[in-house]
Point group: D2
Chain length 362, copies 4
Amino acid sequence: MQKLKVAILGATGAVGQRFIQLLEDHPWFQVAEVIGSSRSAGKRYGDAAHWVLDDNPPARINDMIVGALDDRIKSPLVFSALPKEAARLRELELAEAGHVVCTNASANRMLADVPLLLPEVNAEHVDLIGLQRKGRGWSSGALVANSNCTVMPVVMALKPLLKYGIRKLHLVSEQAVSGAGYPGVSSMDMIDNIIPYVPGDEDKMESESRKMLGSFTGDSIVNLTSIVSATCTRVPVLDGHLVNISLELDARPSLSDIIDDWETYQADSPVPDLPSAPDYPLQYLQQIDRPQPRRDRQAGAGMMTSIGRLRECPVLGYKFAALSHNTVRGAAGCSILNAELLAVKGYIEGFALAESVVALSK
Amino acid sequence: MQKLKVAILGATGAVGQRFIQLLEDHPWFQVAEVIGSSRSAGKRYGDAAHWVLDDNPPARINDMIVGALDDRIKSPLVFSALPKEAARLRELELAEAGHVVCTNASANRMLADVPLLLPEVNAEHVDLIGLQRKGRGWSSGALVANSNCTVMPVVMALKPLLKYGIRKLHLVSEQAVSGAGYPGVSSMDMIDNIIPYVPGDEDKMESESRKMLGSFTGDSIVNLTSIVSATCTRVPVLDGHLVNISLELDARPSLSDIIDDWETYQADSPVPDLPSAPDYPLQYLQQIDRPQPRRDRQAGAGMMTSIGRLRECPVLGYKFAALSHNTVRGAAGCSILNAELLAVKGYIEGFALAESVVALSK
Amino acid sequence: MQKLKVAILGATGAVGQRFIQLLEDHPWFQVAEVIGSSRSAGKRYGDAAHWVLDDNPPARINDMIVGALDDRIKSPLVFSALPKEAARLRELELAEAGHVVCTNASANRMLADVPLLLPEVNAEHVDLIGLQRKGRGWSSGALVANSNCTVMPVVMALKPLLKYGIRKLHLVSEQAVSGAGYPGVSSMDMIDNIIPYVPGDEDKMESESRKMLGSFTGDSIVNLTSIVSATCTRVPVLDGHLVNISLELDARPSLSDIIDDWETYQADSPVPDLPSAPDYPLQYLQQIDRPQPRRDRQAGAGMMTSIGRLRECPVLGYKFAALSHNTVRGAAGCSILNAELLAVKGYIEGFALAESVVALSK
Amino acid sequence: MQKLKVAILGATGAVGQRFIQLLEDHPWFQVAEVIGSSRSAGKRYGDAAHWVLDDNPPARINDMIVGALDDRIKSPLVFSALPKEAARLRELELAEAGHVVCTNASANRMLADVPLLLPEVNAEHVDLIGLQRKGRGWSSGALVANSNCTVMPVVMALKPLLKYGIRKLHLVSEQAVSGAGYPGVSSMDMIDNIIPYVPGDEDKMESESRKMLGSFTGDSIVNLTSIVSATCTRVPVLDGHLVNISLELDARPSLSDIIDDWETYQADSPVPDLPSAPDYPLQYLQQIDRPQPRRDRQAGAGMMTSIGRLRECPVLGYKFAALSHNTVRGAAGCSILNAELLAVKGYIEGFALAESVVALSK
């Protein structure tokens, strides 16, 4: 099988690097273009990028020349790790030009015709692309977004509980520094300290979770109507966002019912067979002091959400903690999984996958 | 003025050290006895104690010989930083023997006749001592406790809001490691990590806050009836507990009303004149990213509570963050302030303070 | 091939856990017995051990019952992660009883007939076992030690430079907290701090490095005669010891000669074919700000030593920094590699390995 | 006494903030002008500065309007916390215009006629100002620098040992993040990590220490001729640089001689009477695990250097560890102390200090 060529926008930044790391040895996709800012364009990737992940960039990528943002992109599939303002128009232009764009940027997430996709939660939202193409007059192009990195563990944990009717949701996050990109949070702000505020994230927690857990009617996404209150804080942790979740339900399931819902949850086929999908997207940890960012963020190669401490909440009924890796599951890894779903669903022109390929890819 | 001699139980531990540090140069009290475990008894304090605070112990204290827990105590005033089990009986014995005992241990906090005292919040609870003495047949002795270190910023922040009627309270803490004592939390658990559970603290948050904010009828403390839900987590911060507080009130004060309540709040005389009391126990910080543990824990020499981020909570009505220094305001500093109140109120036999002394002591 | 059964002494501690983690899926060895202290003996491993590594223990191990230290051991191969005092006699008893013991404990390291083995550095020291068995009257048993975790990156980096004649060696370490075991260093000592002293390690740096780099004459190990000065400090890092090394040589190789020596260094066969050995044990990093503990400790699955910043030292001639993972290469991983060498060299009775097995095992 | 008005250049940066903090309540000097970059100029200080120290800026300073770098300065005394390139010409211009400039910037430190002043070490260098004024044709202006923050604990500790003849000096630093300014080191580089390289500091350690410990002949500074080798590393500590120092001396003093030299060291009058000078600039700590950055950086209000672990070095003869607060003693505090010396020595025109004022100021 010929791998599909992909371009990475914002390839020298922290999330761009994570795309490169996760796509190395990907069974279907291959990085063919790395696109950076005007400061990086024209340089060897190895010279332009200050690699902030562990180890070093793959040698093959190091020798690639960084392209400029307004260069013509050749790859049919584009992953965007652009800053918000740079993303807004460029992503739409590329989709109009026929590219399938999977973006981690927040700029276009809340557009009514852009799926805010998390395959284990709302794979059916992918079909919004049909309306998107029709409405915008696009043929082969598409724009699909993934959510804010802190929303991810919340919607993953809530998906199996939707059937109980979620009335109210109270969220307090403890977020890792990598969520702010590089250089992001100064060490002078973070040593021996907490910052009780993360710009923009509280609003995103409230709006994006309602869109992602909403239902696709065939015409549009109907948002979940739950009342959501979010508080976002930053803690001295490298990777892994932990969210303390309290919620009020219409029904009164037992705690063991809920744990069972989580442990058995799987999305419908073909999601669990996608190369980047863990077999089960959720794990419930019995130890009373888990999940912990450092010890649990790598579960399922960083793609699982770990849950723990489910117990009664005197105020809202139920409470627990959920954690996922913010730059894998919460950013680059989710974009890649989204692209895998698009590929299987036939949304990437000229890249047909036999069912046998899907089954064997993991 | 002759200073009052005091004994410190558990003097070699982390909270014991904080007592020593805060009592150095105290205008009324002077450390005369340091009491430790059987491992420390008989040694020079400087040899027995592994000093964990900044700098070094005062030279005078270093040269004192550590006494044993069952030694006869000579000082009329006793501060207890004992571990829970060691505290339970010994504190009652000492009170029975005529000592005024101000304890930071949790063992006897919830006894019905023991005031859980925080002078700026419930100075009137001190008069429970009359009933305590009567009921237990004690003459000059008394036992007064201060609360868990995480409860402190909560009750301080809520006291001026009691008038609005607190229906529901939802608390998520981010607690410093010094709250666990020394050696306490292993660095292998804390580097690049959060522990989403603090043994025992969630229950204490719920029960102690209701007792402290309760009213003294003359016969007993009637607990606040608010519904309280607490989640306690541990973060890589040395000192300073931050609590994310959401609450539902009977009334609907404006946000600026509440900020005004906090900024103008003072306890009744003589509390603001006590040597360890800040002029105003609360400060509201306008910056959107405050309070922060490292930057705000020293406010008012560690005795103020800093509040920030007051805003509407879609689920409960109001939310904000509160912070105080857990081993100063939340432990040793509060015990000392309690003792100062007892002294002024005449509960320490033979230690009469002229009003002029009180006024001049700060 | 039937895997060789192994016992782990001190299996519930931090290094014991690393043995378990690294032996999961080992091609030759299989954990059959887990031995702990009297507090753990008789319990399920999953209940007795507070797992401090990432993720969770393997399910199979969790269900094993922890044996007591004086139980009869059945496995022919024993890995010891015992505390020093517990190790001293027990390791000798087990070797006398016929077991091959590979130990990480320091108790018996400096015994004249115990090889202090690091296969890439001194594989020929393994033949000291012949003298050991003869001198002690042991038949199938043997005791082989690995060095202190901070010595490891030093001797690895120096081995290819021995030919230049090492006159003087000046070492300043910055060590991770996991080197002190669990709970080890309190977070109250480590947040926002350095401890400029690590008990015992400076002496070990000086004595163990001379023994390891010494030569085996057939009769005994003749220590290297270089003058060594070591300073050991503890820093807020989880894993990975970095050592700043300055040295004076007899010869005057160029900097690029030395880098070339490092990059091309390989031990003689069969060492590079052992399952836990990296192809090349050393890597030289060109970036001026490397090696860094967090980014480089996992090189070669934690078994490579990373070197950087080679430059002239005005005082001693040459200086550079070396880093390796202290609980993998510096502890459990090295013990396992030692056992692999023993297996191939025929020192483990009844466990014959065809050459084809060795070649294929990696 | 009328306080002398001072201007702070670079007032919104981390070192500028430290100047403001330390000058609040200074007995002789008063901040009258705060100068910032073009981005800050014209704004209220409270709006322009992101305060990174503890607590909040003094209210009086918050309300001052930030001036631009090319504004005419009115204050006779100027403290410069400018970035290197901005400092180079501007500091000379201001001295030429008649201002006494005490700078923390590195740009002009190594100019032959600029004293690199540390009053306890080389107060006599101050008289280089006569040559400076003569050579440059300046009347009342002057330019005096303080050294790099890592050099400070080294020269302080070595000063009392100069009499033994320092042949060789081997330095390995472990530096706090505040040495890099704000935002400086990203938390993504610093959590669970060390960076074994600090740009520029190794050269400064070697050159600045020789100049500072050199002697003033009346015509020029004759540098110390000792051979110096420096390695600089960055660790996850907020404030306080620790340096591991090994040295070879001509003489062979005993360890207790050296400790005695340190403990009794005082600079000649008037230095110990200056308001910012500690009575004794050095303290030797007997505990084997000190000095530690967090516990010892505040000694002497951040102006003392703490030394510990003196012992024999097999390679060079002696070794020990020294620590001082890098933004107090190592930056703003030293500049202020320099200015105090200039004031007493009569180098600040129109600011005459009676001897009684000096004696009473501390």
